[in-house]
């Protein structure tokens, strides 16, 4: 075997190690303190005392239930509405437009999304102002009201409500685009698409309405393919920190937030309790997954009857209603988020319920941008390295897979086994709650390489960036026209030459998209950044969260806009560069202005 093949095969194994070693090491790092072993604090004997103490806490049941239920309900809501949306639009020409409108929301950091929702939905937010103004306009005719200046904000409990409804709303809104886009990516695979076109034609010929065809024939197939990513969404929703931290109740908070607070407590002995709670978080996530699987099972049993009951129009009205409301509320929300954050970022004095600030200033931008110079530099540097490295690893691993497929003789079983392990390892960092393994990882890292802060940061971002980069790239890589490769082999080009001269240039666009996605994922990381550096390195996201929980609304608005803007730069580059690089056609059309057809 040539050197290149050896390298790609090793990278494939390396990828598995890069994802699983940090997660497992991290888990060990919290299991030990949870059972009372923590050498740094002179604790060496294993016991269950920490857990006894944890379960004796008054609020523990409340915190656990809050995490479990907000995660489950938000995921169920987002999955249900994503599929209802898809059932209405899956054959419509709006699908592409929806896809491109929802994609930016995918890369919007959770922290930015939560802060943006605060701006719009809080009692003194834009929505309340609009409603209050509308009310006063309608009632002014009757009572000649002139005292709109003294109207108090309504007292709805939007952020920080006890039952975590704001967490559910924010999580559901944030996860819906992800679920939707994952399902669309399955639907748009050529073979799948052809098969579904057949299903659709034969079912409509039997008199089934499009939505009903979707739920009776297409949904079951798509769902089975998106199951693993959905479980990752669920796991993430039950253990997310940014959203409950910014929007959730404080006393008691969700379990994940409590874990973070205890780990960061000045009293180091709180670490024991935090470790035990982190393990409890793993159990909570597992229970959520278990409940989800039971739910799937029940639906599977009921659906057999649904397929064969012969009804032609089931769900048509309901699905359309939900789908159009989802589209409408997203549009409204996106618009009001952009308007209110932009206005706040340049506002001077702005009180409820006036619709516009009294004046405009660039002061907040100046203040923030000068304070942000260092964090922006850190963020961009880190994201570029992590994402570039991820693209490199993912590409070589996918190339190994492609080479194995061409050559079915060589150690087939081993390769297939590695492939299987790789496919499930990709979801490992997404399924195991970050609060559980990141702390343990930090503990390991501090014990062995205390000074390598950037290395810790790099690894903790890598475990999140690499899976997404791989998944994004795999679609294009696996669809690559095999006959191109055969043609090049026919010219005597080695696999290495084919890889460099044919594959990489032809896959330039998807490579850049994967890179931009990786950059965006790295930008959005909050917990890994805070933990692995112990606050020693600030990024835009950590600064934004800090700003949101502290200082002025105006500065926070600037942070949010910077957070929205930064990932977009990457995607614009990913869209633009392929039109000028490795593309004689692009240069050709640029150099020769279009001649009129005369």
């Amino acid at each position: 075997m040539a050197v290149f093949q050896h390298i790609t095969q090793s990278v494939r194994v390396l990828l598995i190690a890069l994802l699983s070693v940090p997660v497992f090491a991290g888990l060990v790092g919290v299991v030990l303190p949870a059972f009372g072993y923590f050498p740094a604090l002179n604790a060496f004997d294993f016991n269950l005392g920490v857990f006894k103490h944890l379960f004796a806490l008054e609020s523990i049941v409340n915190m656990t239930l809050l995490s479990l239920l907000t995660g489950l309900i938000a995921t169920a809501l987002s999955v249900a509405s994503a599929f209802l949306l898809l059932s209405v639009f899956y054959r419509s020409s709006y699908l592409n437009r929806l896809q491109s409108w929802l994609s930016p929301l995918l890369v919007l950091p959770h922290a930015a999304a939560a802060i943006a929702l605060l701006f719009v939905l809080s009692p003194s937010g834009l929505l309340a102002s609009v409603v209050s103004n509308a009310v006063s306009v309608f009632s002014s005719g009757a009572e000649n009201l002139s005292n709109t200046q003294n109207v108090l904000p309504p007292s709805w409990e939007f952020p920080y409500d006890r039952f975590g409804i704001s967490i559910i709303v924010a999580l559901a809104l944030k996860e819906l685009p992800f679920v939707f886009l994952i399902a669309v990516s399955v639907l748009s695979q050529p073979q799948v698409k052809r098969k579904f076109d057949g299903y659709f034609n034969s079912a409509t010929a039997l008199g089934y309405a499009p939505v009903t065809v979707f739920f009776k024939a297409i949904f079951p197939v798509v769902y089975s393919q998106v199951r693993l990513p959905l479980l990752a969404v669920l796991a993430y929703a039950t253990a997310n920190v940014e959203i409950p931290l910014l929007l959730g109740p404080n006393n008691p908070p969700t379990l994940a937030v409590a874990v973070v607070q205890w780990f960061n407590h000045v009293d180091l002995s709180m670490r024991f309790q935090a470790s035990a709670a982190a393990l409890l978080q793993v159990v909570v996530t597992l229970i959520a997954i278990g409940i989800w699987l039971i739910g799937e099972n029940i639906i599977e049993r009921v659906q057999g009857r649904f397929y064969t009951n012969g009804s032609r129009y089931t769900g048509q009205m309901f699905a359309s209603f939900v789908a159009y409301s989802v589209v409408a509320s997203y549009s409204l929300l996106a618009l009001s988020i952009i308007i209110s954050t932009t206005l706040w970022s340049v506002a001077t004095f702005w009180t409820f319920p006036t619709l516009l600030p009294e004046g405009f200033t660039l002061l907040h931008w100046k203040t923030t941008l000068s304070a942000l110079a260092e964090p922006v530099k850190n963020t961009v540097l880190l994201a570029t390295f992590v994402s570039a490295f991820s693209v490199l690893i993912a590409t070589l691993a996918l190339e190994a897979e492609a080479l194995n497929r061409q050559d079915n003789k060589r150690s087939e079983y081993f390769n297939r086994w590695v492939g299987g392990v790789l496919a499930s390892t990709l979801f490992l960092p997404l399924l195991v709650p970050g609060v559980a393994f990141l702390y343990g990882l930090v503990w390991f890292q501090l014990t062995y390489f205390n000074d390598a802060v950037w290395l810790h940061l790099f690894i903790s971002h890598l475990v999140y960036v690499l899976p997404y980069v791989f998944i994004s790239l795999a679609v294009a890589y696996r669809k690559f026209e095999p006959r191109y490769i055969q043609v090049a082999y026919g010219m005597g080009k080695s696999p290495w030459q084919v890889f460099v001269h044919i594959k990489l240039p032809l896959l330039f666009a998807p490579l850049l998209v994967a890179f931009a996605l990786g950059v965006a994922i790295s930008f959005s990381q909050y917990l890994p950044t805070v933990l692995s550096t112990g606050g020693r390195i600030a990024t835009v996201t950590t600064e934004a969260v800090a700003a949101a929980s502290g200082s002025s609304v105006r500065l926070t608005a600037v942070y949010v806009l910077v957070q929205i803007f930064m990932p977009l730069v990457g995607f614009v580059l990913a869209w633009w560069l392929p039109t000028i690089c490795f593309n004689p056609m692009g240069r050709y059309t640029l150099l020769r202005p279009r001649k009129s057809k005369l």
């Binding site: 079915n408 082999y489 026919g490 010219m491 005597g492 004689p584 050709y588």
Partner: protein
């Protein structure tokens, strides 16, 4: 150059697809006709070295009496031409051909003494090849701007530029319109015969086989 298929049998899992026993001499074309799914493209994959599961091959495939069954695809010197031209879109027409040009000049008589061609020599070879077939004006064009017939011609030139030992044609004319098809057939077979290449043609158009003027193997449906 001679291609010899010595008791070659193709299998899908354990089911036999076809048996071939044939010798293709320099400048000859062996045509294989059969319905889709009969395993004729699989035979080309076996010769090219890109056979994948669930297919397998027994017997021996020889070029100049050397068995190539275990030779990797890129070391076989087997050029392939498909029904799609498959020109690389990140290269111009000239670059496509230059990419195929082997670093050592086995192709043209001139300058064969030098071990490696200079950049200038390579460029000259490319423009010579295009000039020989009257397509010089296409050299710096993006491949997407060519007509179907032009793309097909460039695809053949590119295959020939690599100086293959054997050429495989996988329904190469099936996507061309009727007028271009006749011209292309004549031109392709002329080029291949002029270079003395043993050729394997897979088709389900009897006209292709007639134009090839060689042996014909028809595969029956099982």
């Amino acid at each position: 150059m001679t291609l010899k298929l010595d008791k070659v049998s193709l299998f899908r899992h354990t089911d036999i697809l076809l048996n071939v026993n044939a010798v293709v001499n320099a400048g000859e074309v062996l045509s294989i006709m059969g319905p889709s799914g009969s395993g004729k493209s699989t035979l080309l994959n076996a010769v090219a070295g890109s056979l994948t599961a669930p297919f397998s091959v027994t017997g021996s495939i020889n070029i100049n009496d050397i068995c190539i069954n275990d030779t990797p695809a890129h070391k076989r010197g087997v050029g392939v031409l498909y029904q799609d031209p498959l020109l690389f879109e990140h290269m111009t027409v000239g670059q496509n051909i230059a990419f195929a040009l082997s670093p050592k000049s086995a192709l043209l008589d001139k300058g064969a003494s030098e071990p490696k061609l200079s950049k200038k020599q390579r460029e000259k070879q490319v423009s010579d090849m295009l000039a020989q077939v009257g397509l010089s004006e296409l050299q710096h064009r993006p491949v997407q701007t060519l007509s179907g017939g032009q793309q097909a011609r460039i695809a053949l030139l590119r295959t020939l530029a690599a100086a293959p030992r054997v050429v495989l044609l996988d329904e190469p004319f099936s996507k061309l319109d009727a007028a271009t098809k006749g011209q292309m057939r004549k031109w392709v077979f002329e080029q291949l015969k002029a270079r003395g290449l043993p050729t394997l043609l897979v088709t389900h158009d009897v006209e292709d086989a007639n134009a090839a003027q060689g042996q014909l193997i028809e595969i029956e449906t099982c």
